[in-house]
Amino acid sequence: MYRFEGGVTMKSTTGSAHLEWVAHVVRVRDARDEAAFAELFRHFAPRVKAFLMKSGASASLAEECAQEVMATVWHKAHLFDPSRASVATWVFTIARNRRIDALRKQRRPEPEDLGWGPEAEPDQAEVLDLQQESARLTEALRLLPEKQRVLVERAYFGDLSHSEIAEETGLPLGTIKSRIRLALERLRHAMS
């Protein structure tokens, strides 16, 4: 089992909020901690609701879906891998899939799950790196020129068709990709 509270000293505040949310999900996973869940709920549920409304859902449908998404967070806490995603990223993927299901009435084929064996718990340093990189990416999105940022947001709100989605986001994705690649290699090694 990995522990984050007290075990990791951050050199800067970059990613510390992200690391906090990881610790909350771990408490939900290991202790079914309702107080930790309530804090996750207060932060993420209103964002998920806003995300779904911007994607075209009515306020009542968005409210219902946001509750469903948060219930999924509770039930699937054991599947969250903090060396490959921030909590915000993980919640986004659950909300996106809920949107496809609710608004488009389609199945969404997902890649084969790699899963974590008991011997393949994520490495703390990798978790720290990934969470910091996620915080930097959020900052980079905030700093994009207005026009470019709106285009990226519209793509994720489902406002652009796939042929309108541009090849270039203007976001620095190279580092975060390399970090995830390393985590995958470690996982493959542990599986073989």
């Binding site: 709920f41 409304m53 998404v69 948060m70 490959r84 995603a85 993927t93 084929p109 899963g115 994705l173």
Partner: protein
């Protein structure tokens, strides 16, 4: 598996944003299951989605939303439903989990139909905005020459094919647009099995395949 031909950034981002037709989603999910490079790139586009979510202004939840969600949890709502895609592939299986899910099994469960020239296909059920099928091309045989409107994705699962431009082996994905008129030929020695999706019906340039097109639902 050494993979040389990968998904484009635009396709990975569209898949991450949830904007691809179901048929393309299946091909992307199949490729990502086989290719850790594209899995890592996809995860970085999911991270962009996470950043967009993080930056969303709050829409206030109803006052009893948390209590209602705890009640949902107690009722088992949002609990994981076991699907085949969640399980890891047996080592002897050819199809990754998402494809196995659509076929209802591995290669031996495919209901093939002949389409001429020894080529067989099986159309998989998806939403109508695009179509996806499995192709079985005998070693050395050609897939009929075709152009296509829109986009075509071809994922090689077994064997290999060549066209005028390149070679595509097991694990590789070919991303072709309407500008590409090509003649893929399966390499000699081994039959080639591919998963191919298009967002428009293929238009064959030969007379006979064109007449056959409505009949075979290509």
């Amino acid at each position: 598996m050494s993979i040389k031909h990968h998904l484009t950034d635009a396709l990975l981002m569209a898949y991450s944003a949830g904007e691809l037709p179901e048929a393309f989603n299946l091909v992307v999910a199949t490729h990502v299951s086989l290719c850790d490079e594209c899995r890592a790139r996809l995860a970085s586009f999911d991270a962009v989605g996470g950043a967009v979510l993080e930056e969303c202004e709050d829409a206030s939840m109803t006052p009893d939303a948390l209590a209602a969600t705890m009640e949902r949890i107690r009722m088992g709502s949002g609990a994981p439903i076991h699907t085949d895609a969640a399980t890891r592939r047996h080592l002897s299986a050819l199809f990754p989990a998402p494809l196995r899910d659509y076929v209802g099994g591995d290669i031996d469960a495919v209901k093939w139909r002949p389409v001429g020239g020894g080529v067989r296909q099986a159309i998989l059920p998806t939403s109508k905005d695009a179509s996806v099928r499995l192709l079985h091309i005998p070693a050395g045989a050609a897939v009929p020459d075709h152009g296509h409107r829109g986009l075509e994705l071809t994922q090689v699962l077994k064997g290999a094919f060549r066209d005028e431009h390149d070679r595509f082996g097991a694990g590789d994905i070919e991303v072709a647009t309407e500008a590409d008129v090509h003649t893929p030929v399966a390499e000699p020695g081994e039959d080639c099995i591919c998963l191919a999706a298009t967002d428009a019906p293929l238009k064959f340039t030969g007379l006979l395949p064109r007449l056959a097109q409505p009949f075979f639902r290509i």
